[in-house]
Symmetry: C2
Subunit: 230 residues, 2 copies
Amino acid sequence: MHHEQHLQSSDTIRDIVIGMSDGLTVPFALAAGLSGAVNSSGIVITAGIAEIVAGSIAMGLGGFLAGRTEADHYASELKREYEEVEKVPEQEKAEVKEVFAAFGLSEKLQHEVAEEMAKDKDKWVDFMMRYELGLEEPKANRATQSAITIGVSYIVGGIIPLSPYFFIADSTQALYYSCGITMICLFVFGYFKSKVTGQPAIKGALKVLLIGALAAAAAFGMAKLINGQH
Amino acid sequence: MHHEQHLQSSDTIRDIVIGMSDGLTVPFALAAGLSGAVNSSGIVITAGIAEIVAGSIAMGLGGFLAGRTEADHYASELKREYEEVEKVPEQEKAEVKEVFAAFGLSEKLQHEVAEEMAKDKDKWVDFMMRYELGLEEPKANRATQSAITIGVSYIVGGIIPLSPYFFIADSTQALYYSCGITMICLFVFGYFKSKVTGQPAIKGALKVLLIGALAAAAAFGMAKLINGQH
């Protein structure tokens, strides 16, 4: 017996990855950039928390509204397809045939398939939604759950690089600890993210680490540069 | 003659929307948060630029690596499907039948469709990729283009709320201008974003405006709160 294994991560895991990915990277890079410029953990913390609040709301609420929009869009297209199979069934049958023509099926089979599908309106509409329009039915409450998961993951991810600044007043020294902790977390996060999405784990972990390090180094350099001018 | 209009935004427009959406929101909210706490445009600019650099790299490079991963994944699954139609054709035919069974087609039609599809290996594999695995072939150079578009859009979006701080030394006063300019830009951006994605334009514009305003207000309040403690 032959089995195919195609890994598919759940929506929740996907949301955690989205939120934590940016949460670990951007507040870390911002804190690193400011550490090089202002030399005060107080300001780094203020800016870091402001960015975490802003980022988690922007991402979370953005995810929520995107989810709602998707659900509205699906509902309106569904209504339209039901109307169309009533009003212009021949046109809709032709559209089913077009989909199967693209698979390389013969005229005869296209016709038979379209006729058979037209017998069950629910399945017919479902087919048009998925294969003509490429729309999947969004899960109920998906938008709210998604918003909370992304937002909380962003906060959790963002607090990690910021934590040393709470305990060490000198921001340059806090930066060393922040780099150490965050690099480890980025690697571990990248490792599990790759495992979950079915990618090579070490390679994936190094990619995530690279993005974080590059963003932080660039922010640090840029902040130093600007601060020389102000 | 009956025409269906299903708006589909291009990949580039989608990338601009992704980048600018966060670019207009997060640096704006961060600047607002810091304005309430530090009262120095110099620090707001340093933090704002550091955030823009960090955010654009994290989003751009993140998009690039995600695109590369997607392309790698597609290539490896494609190779696997070609191997499978060679080695276990009956199993693969059964999988085609399963897809069509889900559409509600009769056993007889499922069988005919599977047999006909098996005649052209390229189309057969293409079908399995799209409808069994739900994978679309990623466009060549998509990853690089996507990274640049998202990154640049983030920078453009982020510079807008920051611009008043370059000209006004008092960060509280600069914040008023920043709010004014950014609110207008968020509304205009939200309007065009909604037009492009086929959503109600005014409603969409207000949603985008709401996210920006909420994120900024929360960041402002939180930064004020923390700053009282340091």
